[in-house]
């Protein structure tokens, strides 16, 4: 049953043509008719069926002939009439203000140009009549008339784009002309003439051909031939698709987009009304209805889904909720409305800056933005500006307490707007209004059309750019590496999406009416002669985004499919995505797909990502994508290190760390970097510590031509108190001298560096483990670098006497050498308590290392072929071990061995893998202390780089508790012994390779002096250990003459012996030395050094030490 028939019409005009429009705030309805009157009534009186409020109508009857057209913008109302006059009325009062123009023939169309400076400033009105010219009349000075010549026959209708940049005129000669009003001389220029879209007609036929611009300004709809509605894309002026009901061919006369741009209402000559939702369905309208008479005018309520219709019989119908809008959509409208009413009804005096906002956000100017936004509006890929689809605004909570909920909405939205306002200034507000809508698909590295060029891809491999030659395009592919030959080709398919990788270049065109979407791939590194391939998509599928993985190109399509192809064009896989894809990026096997997980919520895009491994065809992770408030995504990529990254329209760069809990870490906030400058960083690639980007100057947000140079901007996570921001690259010249001494780095900057470095190190380590590549050397180098930063921070903390902070930092140190450095710093800064605690950290670290090392050593020993060259430590240990009897450990079973084959898993993970019972048994025997968990838990990395002799002297630095009784002799004896041994060990090192001067610093003396000053307090953790181990120690002492291969004894003196092997220590030295000598030389050195040092040590007064192993070592040395 027709809904329209149920509605009660009311007669407002005489029979004949009528037209209707809403006032911008939706409070009044304006209608014109053949009776030459303009009527203004309040919306309520029309809407509420029982109330016959037509008596309050304002009637203006100044025309002498039938009124043919009507245009309303702001407070202006312009009417054109058969009496050849064009009148200007005041929208509120209905008073005639002036007659704008008198034509010589009937006026057919009038259109007010959306103001560029708010609704109350000077505007233009375009007037079309049966004459051939369009006239643009300045409302401020009506003598100022610009004539636009071009049509060969009379005109049917006119429409301005929402920004007022373009005027579309439809002529009776079937020409649809687009006029660019943004020319330098102010004269409108013909941007494109589109033939064969609209039908031809006689001027006298008075056939309507209403053109409707989408509120986003991105496209417009025009009645086409044979009952279809043609949708034409702005800027490119291509016919992108058509809407047509099956089996219907009555010509469409009227068109209007709903205020959100989601729905398009169309009326045919036979009075059939269709409402389309083009994003969902292009074949069947979501609402169809048949009116009694031919409809001659309709209009959407500016903020509701209400339609007001007038027909040939002069009747008006108000149709509430013409679209059975989903709750979601309705709430989106409510929000919009609330904001407007808030601003209008606000009792509170407006804040400074608010007035401009009001003006800007008047609903009749949905895109009234300032000149500087022009480029972004023009761009077809300027993703942050466009409305596409708003079917789903996020939430559908029941309105239990409407007031509260509304306030909540207002608050959320206002906050968003305020944020954006702070960032861009008020002028950008309307650009950001578009952020209510879900953002469109885009290609990372693509730019909008500027002049006649645009980049389709811009990455570290090269660039693809296309030159628009009106009938065709020229596509150019250039590489940064000039040894690869650039190529170019002529493109007749309008490829608008491109992806470039070292393996190939892929292009895709979006589907338009009659031209299905296609994908073209050109392999680069191929031996085959004809390796290019093209594939056509179906009629209803269009490519949204492309990426090239190691396995071949991947296309995301409008059907929410991911289509995988091989390099040679085989279709290998299809995958369905849960939401519309926004963008994709790939690197190696990894593919990141970013899609809409839902509608827009409080102005925030609701994006999610899927990280996909193309090799194994598995999803690595699916989760949400964080964005700044109200921002849209503008770039996504995967760095060469395998870290996905995104960049949003607020200028925040985030990295996804797959090995740190898939955390999104903001690694650069370009807002702080930019400061007040107009620079914009257009990302190209994220490296480990820098962002490769193009610096766009002067408010531009996209790189232009010729290809700009890449700039590297250092990454900087938004830590607090970072001090003055970096001088932006390019502004460095302002410094008076190039050699300006660097200002002291604030500790926060160091902390930030540390943060990023450790994240990166974690990632690299995990990546190396996953790939099974041994990059231990590189990783150790990274660790050393990180430790340098930490030591710097320790220094800063010590200077400020922030001892707890220094200790925390010390706990995070990775190398023993660095801990020593920290201890030195503590000593030099006269912080003995701190030094003592640091020593405990070190002692603990050594012990952990020893345990871990012993466990892995057992395993390695058991695989007797442990003298793999890389396992130099194993070889070195073998040489050090007393007798072969001690080698095999029956407890390490074969399966455990297998699990430990992976070399990179040599670290603490070994401990976890090994049967816990075995481990426990061992630890019990060693010392109960070791079982207690570490205070802070840094992975015991030290075992990886054992420096066997360096650890021994370090033990002297450990402040031992001074236990009473028999055990008390042990530490003192040990320290004397150690001190001696340290000296000798040092000597050995010096013999082998004179270390740099700083290393000669005798730590033992420092500590000796320190110990003299500081009364030593046994710390708790040592104490409890002592209680339990004292007995064992005694046993160890009594058994000192036992054979070293005795099992119990071996276990007992293990900590002291193992520590030197494992703990070690001197990573920088290790690095340097291994660089110098090469690994072999260094191993040699390591093999000989401990024995020599032990021998010397034993030659001293070490004989009383209850360590049978040393004695043995001495023996073997002899």
């Amino acid at each position: 049953m027709s809904l329209l028939a149920k509605l009660q019409p009311r007669v407002v005009h005489a029979r004949g043509f009528t037209d209707v429009a809403f006032s911008p705030d939706g409070s009044r309805v304006l209608s014109v008719g053949d009776d030459a009157t303009l009527r203004i009534v309040s919306t309520e009186s029309v809407r509420d069926e029982d109330d016959d409020g037509l008596d309050d109508a304002v009637v203006a009857a100044h025309h002498k002939g039938a009124i043919t057209c009507l245009s309303v913008k702001g407070s202006y109302v312009v009417t054109g009439s058969e009496d050849q006059a064009v009148n200007l009325y005041d929208g509120a009062t209905g008073r005639l203000q002036t007659m704008l123009l008198r034509c010589t023939l009937t006026v057919r169309a009038v259109a007010l140009r959306p103001g560029r400076h708010g609704p109350h400033k000077s505007q233009w009105v375009a007037i079309a009549s049966d004459e051939l010219d369009i006239r643009l009349v300045d409302l401020g000075d009506i003598t100022n008339v610009v004539e636009v010549k071009g049509h060969k026959r009379g005109l049917k209708s006119l429409a301005f784009s929402p920004t007022g940049d373009y005027l579309v005129s439809a002529g009776c000669d079937a020409n649809l002309n687009v006029w660019d009003l943004h020319t330098i001389d102010g004269k409108p220029k013909l941007a494109r003439s589109l033939g064969s879209i609209i039908g031809e007609s006689e001027p006298e036929a008075n056939e309507y051909c209403r053109i409707a611009w989408h509120p986003s300004g991105k496209r417009f709809a025009v009645p086409g031939k044979l009952g279809e509605v043609a949708i034409i894309e702005a800027i490119t002026w291509k016919h992108i698709f058509s809407l047509r009901e099956q089996n219907r061919s009555d010509p469409i006369t009227l068109l209007a987009w709903s205020p959100t741009g989601a729905y398009l209402a169309a009326a045919s000559t036979k009075g059939r009304l269709c409402i389309w939702h083009p994003d969902d369905d292009k074949k069947t309208p979501c609402v169809t209805d048949q009116a009694h008479a031919r409809l001659t005018g309709f209009s959407w309520h500016p903020v509701k889904h209400d339609l007001c219709l007038t027909d040939e019989l002069g009747r008006m119908v108000y149709w509430r909720d013409a679209v059975s809008a989903s709750d979601l959509e309705k709430s989106a409208l409510t929000k919009m409305f609330d904001d407007d009413s808030m601003d209008i009804d606000d009792d509170v005096p407006p804040l400074p800056g608010q007035s401009t906002r009001k003006a800007n956000r008047d609903p009749e100017m949905p895109s009234d933005i300032d000149d500087d936004d022009e480029t972004t509006v023009k761009g077809s890929a300027g993703a942050d500006d466009f409305v596409v689809d708003d079917d789903g605004a996020g939430y559908a909570g029941p309105l239990e307490k409407p007031g509260e909920l509304r306030r909540y909405h207002e608050k959320g939205r206002r906050q968003v707007i305020r944020d954006i306002e702070n960032e861009f200034g008020t002028s950008r507000i309307l650009g950001s209004m578009a952020a209510i809508d879900a953002q469109e698909a885009f290609q990372p590295g693509a730019t909008p059309l500027k002049k006649d060029r645009r980049y389709l891809a811009f990455n570290m491999v090269g660039v693809i750019y296309t030159i628009d030659a009106s009938t065709h395009h020229n596509v150019n592919v250039e590489f940064h590496d000039r040894s690869i030959r650039p190529f170019h080709f002529t493109d007749y398919h309008n490829y608008s999406i491109g992806a470039l990788a070292s393996s190939g270049a892929c292009f895709a065109s979006t589907g338009t009416a009659g031209n299905p979407s296609k994908i073209f791939y050109r392999a680069l590194d191929t031996w085959a002669a004809n390796a290019d391939w093209t594939i056509h998509l179906g009629d209803h599928e269009s490519v949204l985004s492309l990426a090239i993985t190691s396995k071949g190109p991947v296309a995301a399509t409008s059907n929410r499919f991911l289509r995988f192809f091989s390099h040679s064009g085989l279709q290998t896989f299809v995958l369905s995505m849960p939401g519309r894809v926004v963008t994709m990026a790939a690197q190696g096997d990894w593919l990141i797909v970013i899609y809409h997980a839902g509608g827009v919520y409080h102005g925030d895009q609701n994006l999610a990502y899927m990280l996909y491994d193309c090799k194994t065809r598995t999803t690595v992770k699916k989760d949400g994508v964080p964005l700044s408030a109200g921002a849209t995504l503008t770039w996504a990529g995967i760095s060469e290190l395998g870290l996905p990254a995104t960049y949003d329209s607020a200028g925040v760069l985030r990295s996804l760390l797959p090995h740190s809990d898939f955390a999104w870490v903001p690694v650069l906030d370009s807002r702080t970097l930019r400061g007040d400058t107009q620079n914009w960083y257009w990302p190209v690639e994220v490296l480990d510590a820098t962002l490769m980007c193009v610096v766009c100057k002067a408010g531009d947000k996209h790189p232009g031509h010729p290809r700009p140079l890449l700039t590297d901007v250092p990454l900087q996570a938004p830590f607090l108190e970072l001090g003055p921001s970096h001088p932006s690259p390019g502004a460095t010249l302002t410094g008076t001298t190039p050699a300006v001494p660097a200002p002291p780095v604030p500790p926060a900057a160091q902390e930030e560096k540390l943060f990023r470095a450790s994240l990166l190190a974690t990632h690299l380590r995990a990546q190396a483990a996953a790939d099974g590549i041994d990059k231990e050397k590189e990783l150790v180098r990274k660790d050393v670098e990180i430790d340098k930063i930490v030591v710097g921070l320790v220094l800063a903390a010590c200077r400020e006497e922030k001892v707890q902070r220094a200790l925390d930092l010390c706990n995070t140190l990775r190398t023993m050498k660095a801990i020593d450095g920290a201890i030195k710093i503590a000593v030099i800064n006269r912080l003995p308590a701190l030094a003592e605690r640091m020593n405990l950290v070190k002692e603990h670290r050594m012990r952990t290392a020893a345990t871990a090392d012993r466990a892995s050593e057992r395993v390695r020993d058991a695989r007797s072929g442990a003298n793999d060259f890389d396992h130099w430590r194993a070889a070195e240990m073998l040489s050090q071990l007393p007798s072969p009897k001690a080698l095999p450990s029956p407890r390490a079973s074969r399966t455990e061995l297998n699990s430990l084959r992976n070399r990179s898993a040599r670290s603490t993970r070994d401990l976890d893998i090994i049967n816990p019972a075995v481990q426990l048994a061992e630890t019990e025997e060693i010392e109960v202390r070791d079982v207690s968990p570490p205070p802070l838990d840094p992975p015991a990395r030290a075992i990886k780089r054992g420096n066997p002799f360096a650890a021994v002297p370090k033990r002297v630095a450990m402040p031992k508790p001074s236990p009473v009784g028999k055990a008390s002799m042990q530490p003192s004896a040990g320290s004397v012994f150690d001190g001696l041994r340290e000296a000798t060990a040092k000597k050995v090192i010096e013999d082998l390779k004179p270390p740099p001067a700083k290393r000669k610093h005798n730590q033992s003396t420092l500590f000796a002096s320190l110990r003299g000053k500081v009364p030593e307090k046994p710390t708790e953790d040592l104490d409890e250990g002592d209680e339990q181990t004292r007995g064992k120690r005694r046993r160890a002492t009594s058994e000192q003459d036992n054979s070293p291969v005795d099992d119990g004894d071996r276990d007992d003196d293990m900590p002291l012996l193992a520590a030197p092997r494992a703990a070690p220590i001197d990573d920088t030295m290790l690095m340097e030395e291994s660089e110098k000598f090469g690994d072999a030389g260094y191993n040699q050195q390591l093999k000989t050094a401990p024995q020599r040092s032990l021998a010397t040590a034993n030659g001293g007064k070490a004989s009383s030490v209850p360590l049978s192993r040393f004695r043995f070592a001495a023996k073997s040395a002899e």
Binding site: M460, H480, D481, R482, S483, L687, M692, L709, L710, D712, T732, L733, T736, T737, P738, A739
Partner: protein, 199 residues
């Protein structure tokens, strides 16, 4: 010394230029290359469009083979040089320029003038700058005394130019000055100290 007479008083400009070729400079390689293992170190790998820091001589070699573009140092920017020239003209002191600016500029303008924006203007400005500084040096001769001499911010090439004359004149003055003794020794050390820092 078996050096020819003209080289005995110091370095020849070509020699100084040779020394300057060890200065590091940023290049953008235009071809992918693996790490170059050279006697004094390894450079690379080169992966366009990432920047690499290489010694000037290597940059020059690569540039000649069209394998890289040189990123000119920021002091070779025309605006910067203009500001410097202004400063040079208005002040008595020498404006701070990099120690080897003349040699580096000479090499770069010789081999990579297409990589330097407004290379010709930069060349002219550098020439002007050099002349301004030379005239300052000459006027500074008036103040030469046997006790003490300090000139800051002179480039190595400029020092080299004036070195034979200055040291000779210095010694002569010292001999002529009646004070002699400790004073002379003083100035001698100053000069030698300056020289060692220059070299």
């Amino acid at each position: 010394m078996a050096l020819p007479k003209n080289l005995r008083h110091g370095f020849a400009p070509a020699e100084i230029e040779f020394l300057a070729e060890n200065e590091p400079i940023t290049v953008i390689p235009s071809q992918r290359m693996e790490t170059l293992q050279l006697i004094n170190g390894s450079y690379g790998p080169f992966r366009p469009p990432l920047k690499n820091l290489v010694p000037l001589w290597l940059a020059r070699t690569l540039k000649r083979k069209h394998k890289c573009n040189i990123v000119p140092p920021e002091w070779m920017d025309v605006d910067y040089l203009k500001a410097k020239l202004e400063q040079e003209m208005s002040q008595i002191e020498f404006s701070a320029m990099p120690f080897r600016y003349m040699e580096i500029a000479h090499i770069l303008l010789g081999c990579a003038s297409d990589d330097i924006p407004q290379a010709e203007t930069a060349r002219t400005l550098l020439k002007d700058l050099r002349e301004a500084r030379q005239s300052k040096v000459r006027s500074g001769l008036k103040d030469l005394d046997p006790h003490y001499l300090q000139i800051d911010n002179l480039g190595v090439m400029e020092i080299n130019e004036i070195r034979p004359f200055f040291s000779r004149a210095f010694n002569e003055l010292r001999v002529l000055t009646p004070a002699g003794g400790a004073m002379g020794g003083d100035s001698q050390t100053t000069m030698s100290g300056a020289q060692s820092s220059m070299g």
